[in-house]
Point group: C2
Chain length 285, copies 2
């Protein structure tokens, strides 16, 4: 396994892989790797001749007052995990290597980047789209692997790739969960023991909504009201950013589950104590 710190070196490795006719996959991460990332790596290793992971805590996707500074980092541990998983290359640039001093260019996926998490995290998704497109341009992977846990991110990246004719295939991978249902996330580390024990409430409420949708008796407004009640009753939930029913492809809000022409994305963001957690599930109709 080779660790790469500069764009130039990364470009040289990519050019060599291309000239050898080897397909290669990219798993973009912000490090602090967990089983979710490992499952992305496994997907890439199954599909591609070589696998690259990038580790970069992207400053431009964090807003003022968000957790950029305290975002968990443990490069040594990450590299050991990558080694164990037989990753071929780890691209781990510094911020000043990734961005010019006077960076001005941003990719905006309009409408989609304003709803759900985008409504609460201004400029978050333009930061994500911009860094992801930069990684695509530097690394030129055949396949890129994203987890469904960050469903809005996945939808936005797919839209960007289609709209801008980017020559890459996006592979979405199932959310990996703890035994109690909590979705794996680097931010779970922030939870106190008590908060952690209660954190599965988010996924359980999403499962409750799914069950109610499938029953087909109540309208979505009613189900949403019940879900908000469940969440509000839990003493560890300090704030609910949203609990939404949306079209998984366009992220438009669903009016009604009855006769819906598409599947329904149930997505939510809540604060357990100080920690913002997100989760989602697509109900296949």
């Amino acid at each position: 396994m080779k660790t790469i710190k500069t764009k130039d070196e990364m470009r040289a490795v990519s050019a060599k892989l291309i000239s050898q006719g080897r397909t290669f996959g990219l798993v973009p991460t912000m490090g602090y790797l967990h089983k979710g990332h490992i499952s992305l790596i496994e997907s890439s290793k199954k599909k591609c001749d070589a696998t690259i992971i990038s580790i970069f805590v992207n400053p431009i996707q964090f807003g003022p007052g968000e957790d950029y500074d305290k975002y968990p980092r443990d490069t040594q541990r990450d590299i050991e995990i990558a080694l164990k998983e037989e990753v071929d290359f780890v691209f781990i640039p510094e911020s000043k290597e990734m961005y010019l001093k006077n960076h001005l260019t941003y990719v905006n996926i309009e409408k989609m980047d304003k709803v759900m998490c985008g409504h609460f995290r201004e400029n978050h998704f333009r930061g994500v789209s911009t860094v992801v497109l930069k990684l695509f341009n530097i690394i030129k992977p055949d396949y890129v692997f994203f987890g469904e846990k960050d469903f809005q991110q996945l939808t936005i990246i797919k839209k960007m790739v289609n709209d801008l004719d980017v020559d890459v295939k996006i592979v979405s991978c199932k959310t990996i969960r703890e035994p109690d249902g909590l979705a794996m996330s680097s931010r779970n580390k922030y939870l106190s023991e008590k908060e952690r024990k209660n954190a599965a409430i988010l996924y359980n409420t999403i499962l409750f909504a799914e069950k109610e949708i499938k029953k087909g008796c109540k309208d979505l407004e009613e189900i949403k009201k019940e879900c908000l009640e469940i969440l509000n009753q839990n003493e560890f939930i300090k704030k609910i950013d949203y609990f939404d029913f949306r079209d998984p492809e366009t992220l438009d809000e669903c009016e009604s589950a009855h006769g819906s022409l598409h599947d329904i994305l149930i997505a939510s963001a809540v604060y357990i104590g100080e920690t913002r957690l997100i989760d989602n599930k697509v109900v296949l109709l």
Copy 2:
């Protein structure tokens, strides 16, 4: 010469050129080719093994009330010119081939796209950056050729390429002019005979400003005032959008010519009758 209408066919041609190890250049145009375009084609032919021109009047870079509908088009003549110039491929997609029905993704080069022409043509430059990035992604050229006549466009594209790590080299080519100094432009066709005879006033005023800067006696504010007077006195000039002195790299406004640490871009946009013309010159200091 081959004429290509679909992205898929274009991608196949590009892949073949790459696999053959041939370098190739792209000359992006909106058609209605003139000597300015031909000089870009000649530059590409000198530098590259193969040359592709794209012809696409890009709807998203025109604002409401602008000349998208009446923009001059003559595909047959364009193809004859390309043939005569021994272009290898002409990519000429329709609008519905280039854009998905629900296109949402735009590339914004902040600050730079708000000044000069960007101040008067809202969303113009995000339309340009977006289509140009799409063309880069579809065609994957080694070199792309832009004229200096659209200087702000050139500066913005260079900035986008640097900021987004796009793997392409931008080549800027000198503005081609009519014998009286008028910069070649497809929009010159809009000018009446009388307007055409007076249109060189724009470039002559820019040359006057250059001379005054080089003399070094007056400050930029004074020179600007004199230039605006010259333009205002011409009965064919119906409106002056701007007459600016700027840093050619950042497009920041110049405070003073004395002791400037960079060259000075003189750039202007005026209406001759109903026709909006732009021109510029970089003063090397």
